[in-house]
């Protein structure tokens, strides 16, 4: 049965109208995964030396075990942003004589096959046999390694449950931010040493088998947690959904001044607020507004003069994360009603102009909200201003052109539970070229003259982009109009 499901999923991917795009992304991701995993493996082999040299420690084992909890906190963070939730069109299988349990087991099993699963074994197994084996014996090495790997894998199931249950809520973001603060705060500011709480558990594993059993039980329990949650929600409807967002359910008055495009921007705003997936992106924008607190206060990035080059990256994130993420699925958001826009006079043009408008408004909002960062120095305000102008003039067009290549249909109205991909690695991947953009302009000036010249260059280029806005945005409009038959037929087919 599972084999049958695997086959069907494969066929589905291959026959999708956006197969070329997904395949290219998959190949690139696979390539990236292999490279990163081999780095991890190399790091694993030299972990002992790295710890001894880097941390000037005489006891690599004690240092590493004491720091393991930070690794897990870090793992929690990257899993939150990178790990994909299992997705399936459940309604196509529920009425067939396939057990729900086998569908869910298939989904959970599939999600476990991921590069993320390999990170902990690749990193810690070599260490176990280079350092722990000779010192404490082979058996201790196995036991310790099992504990470390099981803890990491437990996080996998925890994340499946956590992301599905909380991603659309402030609780979820709160927890993630708390984890971030816990990790960063306790180590950088030395409030307390979290590592000491968990070290005894791993120390114990050197002499006893109990920690392994304990963690195995923990691993199975978390698997059960995820399984039960998915199994109980394997229905077409969502769980009772509370509409606590009523206050934003209104028109944004500011859009009304921009004619039809403004009206469509308003519609788009409603679309965002009323669907779970798009709401997540909005939440994420809020989350990244706080992102600066981590970078700007981090002593690692403090420099004697000027500011760290990294801050350009942070500024781009803070001022336009919503545009960067939401914009990648540019037309996909409207895939179920694309014919509606085709059917109006000037509909497509206004749709696209409306989206531009929406991106500009959200970015301006983010810029204004981020003004208090000036507390950390005037430089920060200048960086935000420069990256904002550059984003509005250049990056906005980059995002939109890239998203117009084979847009993927997306049905927002389906039950969110199993159709909800959330934020995954692919969304961040598409951002890479977009992030390189600012540095291409910034670095030549920053390195040759000084950093402020770099910022001025960013602003000037951005300004030029803004001046040519009508021309540049028209390219996108023309592109959609030219491909409208193709786009609308692919949207119609797959929904």
């Amino acid at each position: 049965m599972v084999l049958q499901l695997v086959k069907l999923e494969l066929l589905k991917t291959m026959r999708s109208s956006s197969f070329a795009k997904s395949a290219l992304v998959a190949v690139f991701l696979g390539f990236l995964a292999v490279i990163l995993l081999s780095y991890v493996l190399i790091l694993g082999f030299f972990l002992k030396e790295v710890i001894e040299k880097g941390f000037e420690s005489t006891d690599a084992y004690a240092t590493l075990t004491g720091a393991l909890i930070y690794f897990y906190l870090f793992e929690f963070m990257y899993r939150y942003f990178v790990q994909k939730l299992p997705v399936m069109e459940l309604e196509r299988f529920l009425h067939l004589p396939i057990r729900k349990s086998s569908i869910i087991h298939f989904l959970l099993g599939r999600s476990f096959i991921s590069p993320l699963t390999l990170i902990a074994p690749l990193l810690f197994l070599p260490f176990a046999f280079k350092e722990i084996g000779p010192r404490f014996g082979d058996w201790a090495a196995w036991s310790w390694a099992a504990c470390v790997v099981l803890s990491s894998w437990s996080l996998h199931w925890l994340m499946l449950w956590f992301k599905q249950k909380f991603e659309d809520s402030f609780i979820g973001l709160g927890v993630v931010f708390a984890v971030l603060l816990l990790g960063a705060g306790s180590s950088y500011y030395g409030w307390f040493n979290l590592g000491d709480f968990f070290k005894p558990l791993f120390d114990w594993s050197l002499v006893s088998v109990f920690p392994v059993i304990l963690l195995l039980v923990f691993f199975i329990a978390l698997h059960r947690l995820a399984y039960t949650y998915y199994r109980n929600n394997a229905y077409l409807e969502d769980l009772a959904e509370e509409e606590n967002l009523r206050f934003v359910n209104q028109d944004l008055g500011i859009f009304n001044r921009f004619g039809l495009a403004g009206q469509l921007a308003n519609l788009e705003w409603k679309l965002i607020v009323r669907h779970k997936k798009s709401r997540t992106y909005l939440m994420l924008a809020g989350f990244f507004l706080l992102y600066g607190l981590i970078f700007y206060t981090n002593p690692q990035y403090q420099t004697e003069e000027g500011f760290s080059h990294m801050f350009i990256f942070v500024g781009t994130f803070i001022t336009s994360i919503f545009m960067l993420q939401y914009g990648q699925l540019f037309l996909s958001w409207n895939s179920s009603s694309f014919d509606f826009f085709l059917n109006r006079r000037g509909g497509v043009e206004s749709l696209i102009k409306g989206k531009y408008l929406l991106f500009v408004v959200t970015s301006v909002f983010c810029l204004l909200v981020s003004v208090p960062y000036v507390y950390f120095g005037w430089d920060i305000l200048l960086i935000h201003l420069a990256t904002f102008i550059f984003n509005m003039g250049v990056v906005i067009h980059l995002v939109i052109y890239m998203s117009l290549w084979k847009p993927k249909p997306m049905d927002l109205n389906k039950g969110a539970m199993f159709n909800y991909e959330g934020v995954g690695i692919a969304q961040f991947l598409m951002m890479i070229p977009i992030f390189i953009g600012p540095y291409i302009v910034y670095f030549p000036f920053a390195l040759l003259i000084n950093q402020y010249a770099g910022l001025i260059a960013l602003s000037v280029v951005g300004m030029i982009g803004i001046l040519f806005f009508p021309y540049l945005s028209n390219i996108a409009v023309q592109k959609v109009l030219k491909n409208r038959y193709e786009i609308s037929s692919s949207f119609r087919q797959e929904l």
Binding site: Q4, L11, E91, L96, P97, R99, L236, Q493
Partner: protein, 231 residues
């Protein structure tokens, strides 16, 4: 065969379905009619355990459908196109179902043969994905899929909608044939009063989620319904 007890479905304050009791005996052809939003599809969805009931339960023979899944092999259904795998061709889809139902190739061939007339040569052997089919042909694929694997109960939501007139007649003939031959219990919702009164022994009328008529007498059925709908 199917027993419904105190079934209620509520979305916040709105009660969309409220059925105190309903008993559908074996091999009955059960027709469900009602205005838009009367709760027909919701009733079917709850019967199939696709949607959770707020209170009450649906029993198939003696099992609660939400507690156990063994009944899924005995019930076939086609409610909407989301139940199909649109990225397959009809042949591939039937083949996938054959494996899921664990039938032999011969079984499937015999099954498809029954639909030869209804399919009218437009479905089998064509290299066309289900997503590219017309609405009527989609429906035909769905109906044939619902009846795969000798189910005891078949639920069809608006089976006549989108079909051309000759296909409608053929479908009627097919349903009557199956009912006679295999003792299948049919549950059919429809807006087409003529068709549904033709094939069904019993018609239940839903209004705002409640059963307001339960008609057994074929001779007065049509008149009763016509008075209610004002046609």
């Amino acid at each position: 065969m199917i027993t419904v007890n105190n079934l209620k479905k509520q979305y916040k304050d709105a009660v969309v379905l409220d059925v105190e009791s309903l008993e559908i005996p074996k091999s009955e052809c059960f027709g469900l009619v009602g205005n838009n939003g009367a709760g027909k599809t919701t009733l079917f969805r709850i019967m199939l355990d696709l949607v959770r009931a707020t209170t009450g339960h649906v029993m198939l023979d003696t099992v609660d459908v939400s507690k156990n899944e063994d009944w899924k092999g005995r019930v076939g259904a086609y409610l909407d196109e989301h139940m199909l795998l649109s990225y397959l061709t009809p042949d591939e889809y039937f083949e996938a179902l054959r494996k899921i139902h664990q039938l032999s190739e011969e079984d499937l061939k015999l099954h498809i043969q029954k639909f030869e007339e209804l399919f009218n040569g437009e479905i089998i052997g064509k290299k066309k994905y289900i997503r590219d089919l017309s609405k009527g042909n989609l429906k035909k694929v769905g109906i044939a899929a619902a009846m795969i694997g000798n189910p005891e109960v078949v639920m069809l939501d608006e089976p006549f909608e989108n079909l051309d007139p000759s296909s409608q007649v053929r479908l009627k003939k097919l349903i009557l044939q199956e009912k006679e031959g295999s003792q299948i219990t049919f549950l059919i919702s429809s807006h087409d009063l003529n068709h549904v009164t033709d094939i069904c022994d019993r018609i239940v009328l839903l209004e705002k989620g409640k059963i307001i008529r339960d008609l057994h007498d074929k001779s007065t059925m049509v008149e009763d319904l016509n008075t209610y709908f004002g046609t």
